[in-house]
């Protein structure tokens, strides 16, 4: 018997509650995001020394880009998310696999709950600090906000899809820390956390947009400041969200076959 939609909704709520027990940690992390926000603004604003626009950004759009990145980093990238890989290593994954649920959907539900909590605690404060110290570029109409909200939701799914695959690598790799280390570096640089992708040389720009990384932070940030076509950005995100989830299912099916449960 497979679980119905009600179970997954309850998993979303459980994910929210589980993460809301770590309030101090969330606040500490948020404070760090704010410090980094100020530093990244300072670094990025240096490019406007002799010009008013760089790569389609004016200073207000650039600092908005920085602050929304800091506000979404925990929600979307979640660098420390190795829970599933640890369960593979410890063997607890066997229990997860025999439960009457779809493992990927269950993890996604838990992730949406976590993202919801992150939205409550870690999104608002950096944006407010950013707005207090800088002039931000925000949507002027409802459609802009709706597009941004959709972009954030898709970004969470893309981030989950990426990390689900990375976690599954633990079925084949003895030591998966290197994989997550590489993810942290690539997602920061290619996702648009450190620099807008538009600032890279043209060839690099094309190559980076061919990866899923811009769908995590660059796309929501561009939707917020109104740079580029919202429809194209959302299609890029949707494509990668569906593609990564589908790939995750295939890899999970393969992984189930290599799993050997010792003892009985």
């Amino acid at each position: 018997m497979r679980a119905g939609a009600g179970v997954y909704l309850r998993l979303v709520a459980a994910g929210f509650r589980r993460w809301s027990t770590y309030r101090t940690a969330a606040l500490a992390g948020m404070a760090t995001n704010v410090v980094f926000g100020f530093m990244r603004c300072a670094v990025l604003l240096t490019v406007f020394a002799g010009t008013a626009r760089v790569a389609g950004y004016d200073p207000a759009a650039a600092v908005t880009f920085v602050w929304v990145g800091q506000a979404l980093i925990d929600m979307v990238l979640a660098w420390g998310d190795t829970e599933l890989a640890e369960r593979v290593r410890s063997g607890d994954i066997a229990i997860d696999l025999v439960r009457p649920w779809d493992l990927q959907l269950a993890r996604l539900a838990d992730e949406l709950g976590r993202a919801g909590f992150s939205m409550v605690v870690r999104f608002g404060p950096p944006m407010l600090v950013g707005a207090a110290f800088f002039e931000l570029r925000l949507p002027t109409d409802v459609i802009g906000w709706v597009a941004f909200a959709l972009g954030v939701l898709l970004a969470v799914v893309v981030g989950f899809g990426l990390r689900f695959l990375l976690n599954l690598s633990a079925f084949w790799l003895l030591d998966w820390r290197g994989v997550f280390g590489l993810y942290a570096v690539l997602s920061g640089l290619l996702g648009g956390l450190v620099l807008p992708i538009g600032m890279f040389p043209p060839a690099a720009r094309v190559a980076i947009w061919c990866t899923p990384f811009p769908a995590t932070l660059q796309a929501p940030a561009d939707l917020l400041v109104g740079r580029g076509s919202p429809a194209l950005l959302l299609i890029h995100q949707l494509g990668w969200a569906v593609g990564l989830l589908w790939l995750g299912r295939i890899v999970l099916r393969r992984a189930e076959r290599v799993l050997v449960v010792q003892g009985g």
């Binding site: 770590y22 101090t24 940690a25 500490a28 992390g29 404070a31 760090t32 410090v35 980094f36 100020f38 530093m39 990244r40 300072a42 670094v43 990025l44 604003l45 240096t46 490019v47 020394a49 002799g50 010009t51 760089v54 790569a55 003895l174 030591d175 820390r177 290197g178 280390g181 590489l182 942290a184 570096v185 690539l186 920061g188 640089l189 450190v194 620099l195 600032m199 890279f200 040389p201």
Partner: protein, 278 residues
């Protein structure tokens, strides 16, 4: 008393032996899987390279940053990167201090006749961070060979001493920041703002930051002394911010001072520690 002095010497010698064994054991266990170790080194090198890419991409759009051209910024980046990689290697595992406290492992360390801080650092030294330092060192060597430097004995000594002083300063920052965890067990990420934050802050010219950020991350947390001031001294460049010239040569002194502060803070924190109880 001669006898007392001798006993002290013996104890110190056995302490050094113990630390050497702890480091040796850590190194052996990390090198047990050479392929995995090589991959992790590459990961660290990639992390350092991403900061380099950031600087190079920014310089596609500007000629100078805070009064420094690209090669001069890369000298700052190089010294900062070597220092941060080494500091992260030596004290980076203090980030797991909350785990030590929660699991009661700190109590076990404190029962042993060696300092708790030394034990954590020695037994958890992370050699893969060398990937970071080596990348930064390579960039530093290239940058130093392309910028104009009037080499003097003083500058030759400084170029050797600066990464060491930088490492010591960053280690001290790390120790002070992680001491917060004795009061706030879940506050580890707060420490990141000054540890990893310093990694970013120290790699750029001081002048690009606003004045309160300079005061906070450059002087209260002495990040300006890691790479910025030594680079000015090496280049013989007047400070674009107009700060006094003697500051440029003061990094070794600041390193000594920060060790004293870090030591005092750590001892206070450890005295405050009462265990989590079980």
């Amino acid at each position: 008393m001669a006898l007392g002095a001798q006993a002290g010497r013996t104890r110190r010698a056995s302490g050094i032996t113990a630390y050497r064994r702890l480091v040796g054991a850590a190194a052996r266990s990390q090198l047990a899987y050479p392929a995995s170790f090589a991959l992790q080194c590459a990961g660290q090198a990639a992390a350092q390279t991403s900061e380099l890419v950031t600087i190079l991409v920014l310089f596609r759009h500007v000629r100078a940053m805070g009064g420094f051209d690209v090669r001069q910024v890369l000298v700052i980046y190089g010294i900062a990167g070597v220092s941060f990689g080494l500091a992260d290697m030596i004290v980076g595992q203090l980030d797991s201090l909350p785990t030590y406290i929660r699991m009661g492992r700190l109590d076990a360390l404190m029962l042993r006749p060696l300092g708790a801080l030394g034990q954590i650092c020695a037994s958890e030294i992370t050699l893969r961070r060398l990937g970071r330092s080596c990348t930064a060192l390579a960039v530093l060597v290239v940058a130093l060979s392309t910028v104009d430097i009037q080499w003097t004995v003083g500058r030759a000594v400084l170029v050797m001493l600066a990464p060491v002083a930088g490492t010591v300063i960053l280690c001290s920052i790390w120790v002070v920041a992680c001491s917060v965890c004795f009061w706030l067990v879940e506050g580890r990420e707060l420490a990141n703002s000054v540890t990893y934050g310093s990694s970013m802050f120290t790699a750029y010219p001081l002048g690009i930051f606003s004045s309160w950020l300079r005061r906070l991350m450059g002087f209260a947390v002495p990040g300006a002394f890691v790479a910025y001031f030594p680079t000015l001294a090496l280049l013989g460049k007047p400070d674009p911010l107009g700060l006094p010239r003697w500051l440029q040569w003061s990094s070794p002194l600041v390193a000594v001072l920060s060790v004293l502060v870090a030591g005092a803070v750590w001892r206070t924190a450890l005295r405050h520690y009462r265990g989590t109880g079980s």
